[in-house]
Amino acid sequence: MEYGEIKIPKEIISKIEARLEETGFESVDKYVTFVLEEVIKEVGDDEPEEVFSEEDEKKVKERLRALGYLD
């Protein structure tokens, strides 16, 4: 894969650097590439992000107990 350069505000770079630790990304480049890929693919992707529900929580809690995660 070939790479090019883009310019983005330093302020954004600093914010991304501060977030890297809690994302698992190794560099700002990889983070930005991933986010841009996601945005580009967003068009036509109507799958909703899931949200917390107490009913789901109850189900998964029972399953995790059965699997030995919660003693």
């Binding site: 189900k59 998964v60 399953r63 059965a66 699997l67 995660y69």
Partner: protein
């Protein structure tokens, strides 16, 4: 050198969905774990390395003690190699302090009452898992350069993060892309293997009743997890 990328809860449908071509290799599919009553991590990895169903033996230890299982190398196929390197494998040299802490936070998530408290615990839990993942990845990449005839790196991030975040598509995709990048960095022949996959319950994730495998040398069809001890012996 033979390498095994042992990925907890790597889900077949997400490998497909996220186009993880390095994880898929030339041949890939689902493993058959129907001989087990439940897709339990410790039971499945112990059965993988011994080549026999270890469910009865592991469950006899009880839910708490089973996580401390440490099989002797002589009871595993690792013994067939002259200088094997195994990283963080459940049932062998699992880093118990780390994984005990993960389960403690998982329990805390369900124990706290408010959504705000749950969010705080989730962040702490995710950070703990990602930090561990980075350490394991670093160690794995280092040992690839050393003089080993067998390397197994166990990556727990898809399972640990998946339990509380499987409905977060962006986060799961980020993890799968990272695992795919690790597979892409391997130069020698390798097997990708998961103990089980994961199915969605809203934002959460539960273990699915099949695992994932891939190779670049043979179509294994629908193998049992206990078949891999022999498959790897034959690769030597």
């Amino acid at each position: 050198m033979i390498t095994v990328l042992a990925i907890d809860a790597l889900e077949y449908t997400l490998v497909e969905k996220f186009d993880c071509n390095n994880l898929k290799q030339k041949y890939y599919g689902k493993t058959n774990i129907s001989e087990f009553s439940e897709p339990r991590t410790m039971v499945l990895w112990s059965s993988f390395m011994t080549g026999k169903n270890m469910e009865k033996e592991i469950l006899a230890k009880g839910d708490k003690e089973m996580w401390n299982t440490r099989l002797d190398i002589k009871d595993t196929f690792f013994d067939q190699f002259e200088n094997p390197k195994i990283i963080d494998l459940p049932g062998f040299n699992y880093i118990t302090d780390q994984h005990d802490q993960e389960r403690k936070l998982l329990k805390e998530f369900f124990d706290v009452q408010s959504e705000e408290e749950k969010d705080q615990v989730r962040v702490e839990y995710n950070n703990l898992a990602f930090e561990h993942h980075r350490k394991i990845k670093e160690e794995f990449i280092e040992v690839l350069e050393a003089d080993h005839d067998f390397i197994l790196g166990y990556f727990s991030v898809a399972d640990v993060i998946g339990h509380l975040n499987f409905g977060n598509r962006t986060m799961m995709k980020m993890i799968y892309k990272d695992l795919d990048e690790i597979a892409g960095s391997l130069k020698n022949q390798f097997i990708v293997l998961s103990d089980h996959g994961m199915e969605q319950i809203g934002i959460f994730g539960d273990h699915s009743n099949y695992g994932f495998w891939s190779t670049d040398f043979k179509d294994l069809d629908n193998p049992g997890i206990t078949d891999f001890a022999e498959i790897i012996r034959e690769m030597r």
